[in-house]
Subunit: 204 residues, 2 copies
DNA sequence: ATTTTGACTAATTTTTTCAATTATTCAAAT
DNA sequence: ATTTGAATAATTGAAAAAATTAGTCAAAAT
């Protein structure tokens, strides 16, 4: 029982390493099994198929990141500060898991339902996170916002889109460098700062 | 001479119709020639190759749109109004020429140098357009901006990215509808409005 | 009973080949 | 200088073959 869970976790971790480095297509179930000296069949004992394993990995790293972020965010009361913190963490996450996310990032191709679901969830949670930051700003009188949900959506669209636009401009670059992610972060911070100023209560 | 230019223009126009409707891949040189009852070889007398013709079409429609926009923009002094006008025109352009731009829009694939060049130019011009609107706002005392060029870039990145993010969410949709473009426009306007408010001079 | 495996099959991807389409050239005609 | 028909070169698409990988299962191990 406890041992079974351990095996499952081991598989998840090995899969995370492989997927995070090589992506879905360039990782085989055999390789993951070999990394652990397990038989390939064992992977199928714990996970129904490759997509499910990949989705589990995705879900795991996303959940981990959210958990950490929410914990740390709770101790920041200023919403400008909170937003900057979130941007830092967001970029750190994307930088670390860029290859894992490549499928979800590069549009075009169809994403299997299982992953689409995880990603949709993740998007909702991210909007909720931004919404909570904004709401705190409204509650403390720092901000004046008519529709907090929509405003959070606009901010997320702009952030995701900004990252995409900048990375697209770097055409021919298979793997963006740390510097390029830093550049994105810098512009995102400036944008959000101006945006928050635009939402600021006149009395402040 | 004058007749030769006319032929060139005819070819450009016929190519525009085909490319705008079917895109680069689904349009053949023979079809363009047939539309005009010219021989296919004549197209090669006026344009070195298919990519060059496509790039010329792209350049032409972009230049036309810019020209019209600049003319009309010159008579708008309020920068909020100017920005909204620009957003309207931008979306109208993308809606009209969506198929023509599909290559440039869908990332991933390599864009031939000739087109990349036209698109890079177009991007620079667009930034310049936004910069000029912002600069007017600074000059009239409506806005306070430290780095106008960078701010213009941020706005463009956010706009382009926003469009991309929203269209990506509509996965499986080959041709976005008018309504979907309107939704993009609506969110873009809200974003830019808040952003401009964030740049507004305190005295206003 | 649960967990694990090797050997097997099914599905998918990659490679190769070949026919058909399409881009491009060019010598000759206008 | 402009235009064309006829030819060649390049590209694409479909089909077949080969190779890799996903997924299954009966039996072994714990």
């Amino acid at each position: 029982m406890i041992n079974a869970d351990k095996k499952r976790t081991q598989i998840l971790e090995a899969a995370t390493r492989r997927f995070a480095h090589f992506g879905l297509a360039k990782t085989t179930m055999s390789e993951i099994a070999q990394d652990l000296s397990f038989s390939k069949a064992l992977l199928y004992y714990y996970f129904p198929d490759k997509n499910a394993l990949y989705a589990a990995v995705l879900e795991h790293v996303i959940a981990q990141s959210f958990e950490e972020m929410e914990k740390q965010l709770s101790s920041i009361s200023d919403c400008q500060q909170a937003m900057m913190f979130m941007l830092d963490k967001r970029i750190a996450f994307v930088t670390k898991y860029y290859n894992l996310l490549e499928n979800s990032i590069s549009a075009v191709q169809q994403i299997p339902d299982e992953m689409a679901c995880v990603l949709a969830d993740s998007k909702d949670k991210e909007i909720a996170l931004i919404r909570d930051i904004l709401q705190k700003g409204v509650d403390t009188g720092q901000l004046v916002i008519e529709d907090v949900q929509e405003t959070a959506e606009i901010i997320l669209f702009a952030l995701v889109g900004m990252r995409f636009s900048i990375l697209k401009d770097l055409k021919g670059v298979l793997f963006p460098t740390k510097d390029e992610f830093d550049h994105i972060l810098q512009l995102q911070k400036k944008m959000v700062t101006v945006f928050l100023k635009g939402l600021a209560s006149p009395s402040h």
